[in-house]
């Protein structure tokens, strides 16, 4: 199992985030008494491990404003839809998503530079598990939300469909995407990238996944930065929302790479 790797989040810390809201401060106040043992609302026996792995000694609170939406039961363990939305927190920018019972627990990280701090995606689940999102606030506190998803399993150790078919090789890293206008004057971006996203856990199939994705407007300003890890589903699809005025020009530039160095470079248009 790989060690956690949080460069995006460290960056966010250094850059400093906007002040927390009054409600955030209340949560922080509740944590003043060390060693702040908190009860996992999802009752997962893995919570303490997750806490050590992702947060070390940093303060952590469970916060319902970090919304994780997913079906209670996953019909397809290879493609479990999840939406993480931390926009109720105000200025949440950096988010990490993990699944307690996956053999590779970290699913993805994202940094909503100018996009809303929300992301729709799909992941692979090896068995029933909490799926959680954690947001690091400028006060150094992690705010965590999550939900249990029941799954029949096998999602991480099964070969991808792409790994058994030569067709994906010709379309590797191809992006199809579209931009919609939203009633609030902002925009919604949906995109899908052809990639097998092999976890390395299926016998004889090495790890092969997209590990870097950025969405920029046509002035080159990054609006969303995503680091997918192995549990993101094959042919990843993402839903991203931009507030009004977040992006200049009508189109968006998608760039990125996989762990073998193959480049992603495409434009998404309305």
């Amino acid at each position: 199992m790989r060690r956690p790797n949080l460069p995006l989040l460290s960056l966010a810390l250094l850059a400093g985030l906007a002040p927390a809201s009054a409600a955030d401060l209340q949560h922080t106040a509740a944590l003043q008494a060390p060693p702040h043992p908190i009860v996992d609302p999802l009752g997962s026996p893995r919570w303490d491990d997750m806490r050590k792995l992702f947060f070390g000694d940093a303060p952590v609170v469970f916060d319902e404003r970090v919304r994780v939406t997913a079906p209670r039961i996953a019909e397809d363990s290879m493609n479990v839809p999840v939406t993480v939305d931390a926009s109720a927190l105000g200025d949440a920018r950096s988010v990490v998503v993990f699944a307690d019972f996956n053999p590779i627990v970290k699913v993805l990280e994202f940094q909503a530079a100018h996009a809303r701090p929300s992301l729709g995606f799909r992941l692979k689940l090896q068995q029933s598990s909490p799926v959680r999102a954690a947001v690091l606030g400028s006060d150094g506190t992690w705010r965590v939300g999550g939900t249990w998803i029941t799954a029949t399993g096998g999602g991480c150790t099964l070969p991808s469909a792409g790994s058994s078919s030569p067709e994906w090789q010709e379309r590797l890293n191809q992006v199809s995407g579209r931009i919609w206008s939203r009633v609030d004057g902002g925009e919604r971006v949906r995109m899908r990238i052809i990639h097998p996203m092999d976890t390395g856990l299926a016998a004889g199939i090495p790890v092969f996944h997209i590990d870097e994705l950025a969405l920029a407007d046509d002035s080159g300003r990054t609006v969303m930065h995503i680091r997918p890890y192995e549990p993101v589903a094959e042919n990843p699809s993402f839903t991203i929302d931009l507030p009004p005025g977040a992006a200049s020009g009508g189109k968006l530039h998608v760039t990125g790479r996989d762990n073998n160095g193959n480049r992603i470079d495409a434009w998404v248009t309305p």
Partner: protein
């Protein structure tokens, strides 16, 4: 209660136990064939999902007694079901099994095959291929869902392909239609003597249709074919027998709503999690398992609709 009294109470309870009726789960499906026309029998399952409580008996099977033998339509979800179906047929007739049909490759329609004479097992070529490629996974999943009801159940692939068209089997005039849409191949059996259509899982009645292998445009075309058959009664794959075309209309209306909802959601840019929050219209709210089946159907059908919207 003192420890001594407690011990007495427990002892009394223990003594009572053997006298209690047997646990209802004695692995007896209590199959009761119902005659719906001369020589035509059905066994109607519950409109539930697979579970240990129902042993997987959520499906309709049937049989037709011809002058020279019996034609069996689907063998149920387990070896036990197949054995009990065979036994129940024997209470109706002593004629031999002439033909055992699997209408399609879903597990509740063929996992009783073991109980029937191997040389009577038949299905379309696509269904045979489906059982060969997916049968083991289905069977494993059925053990997980139904537990010990599945004991000893193994996949038996039909050896004979079933041609479409009119034919006489065991002296009974039958017609087989090779349709598709619920799966890659859905066989419909028409008993012209009685005007009975065994529509298999192309038709659901008061139970939400399932779509793991569905192609909705083909399914709707198949429903057109079914609606054009002059018949007296319709046996759906799941749900009660009907004397009119209501089950066809209901299945069509649900599938049209489902396909339209999914296409429009993809065109509007909804994420799958937003799609899953779609309210079920009042017209379908009373269908058994509609919320579960809608969730499953979104998982099955939304990715292709999204892709079409993104690659327009």
């Amino acid at each position: 209660m003192t420890p001594r009294l407690l011990a007495h109470a427990l002892l009394s309870l223990a003594l009572l136990l053997p006298a209690l009726p047997a646990h209802p789960n004695d692995f007896d499906y209590r199959l009761a064939p119902r005659m719906i026309a001369e020589g035509v029998y059905v066994l109607i399952g519950t409109t539930e999902d697979f579970s240990f409580a129902n042993g997987g008996n959520i499906v309709n099977s049937g049989f037709i007694v011809g002058p020279a033998g019996v034609i069996v339509i689907d063998t149920g979800p387990s070896r036990r079901y197949g054995e009990q179906l065979l036994a129940t047929i024997a209470t109706v007739t002593d004629r031999p099994i002439a033909l055992t049909i699997n209408t399609h490759h879903h597990p509740d329609h063929f996992l009783g095959n073991q109980a029937f004479p191997a040389d009577t097992l038949t299905a379309t070529p696509e269904t045979i291929r489906g059982i060969q490629s997916e049968g083991e996974d289905f069977n494993n999943n059925m053990y997980r869902l139904n537990g010990d009801w599945m004991l000893g159940t193994e996949v038996v692939v039909p050896g004979k392909t079933l041609a479409a068209g009119r034919t006489t089997i065991a002296g009974r005039a039958l017609e087989f239609l090779h349709l598709a849409g619920h799966t890659a191949s859905d066989l419909v059996v028409i008993d012209h003597d009685s005007g009975t259509v065994f529509a298999a899982d192309l038709v659901f009645w008061q139970r939400a249709p399932t779509t793991p292998h569905a192609d909705i445009p083909r399914w709707l075309a198949a429903l057109d074919r079914l609606a054009a058959i002059p018949a007296q009664r319709w046996v759906p794959g799941h749900g009660e027998v009907s004397g009119d075309r209501s089950p066809i209309r209901q299945t069509r209306a649900y599938l049209e709503w489902l396909a339209d909802t999914i296409t429009r959601g993809a065109e509007a840019g909804l994420d799958m999690t937003e799609m899953l929050e779609t309210p079920i219209p009042a017209a379908f709210a009373d269908l058994s398992l509609v919320a579960d089946e809608f969730r499953r159907s979104v998982t099955h059908l939304y990715p292709a609709a999204e892709q079409a919207a993104l690659e327009r």
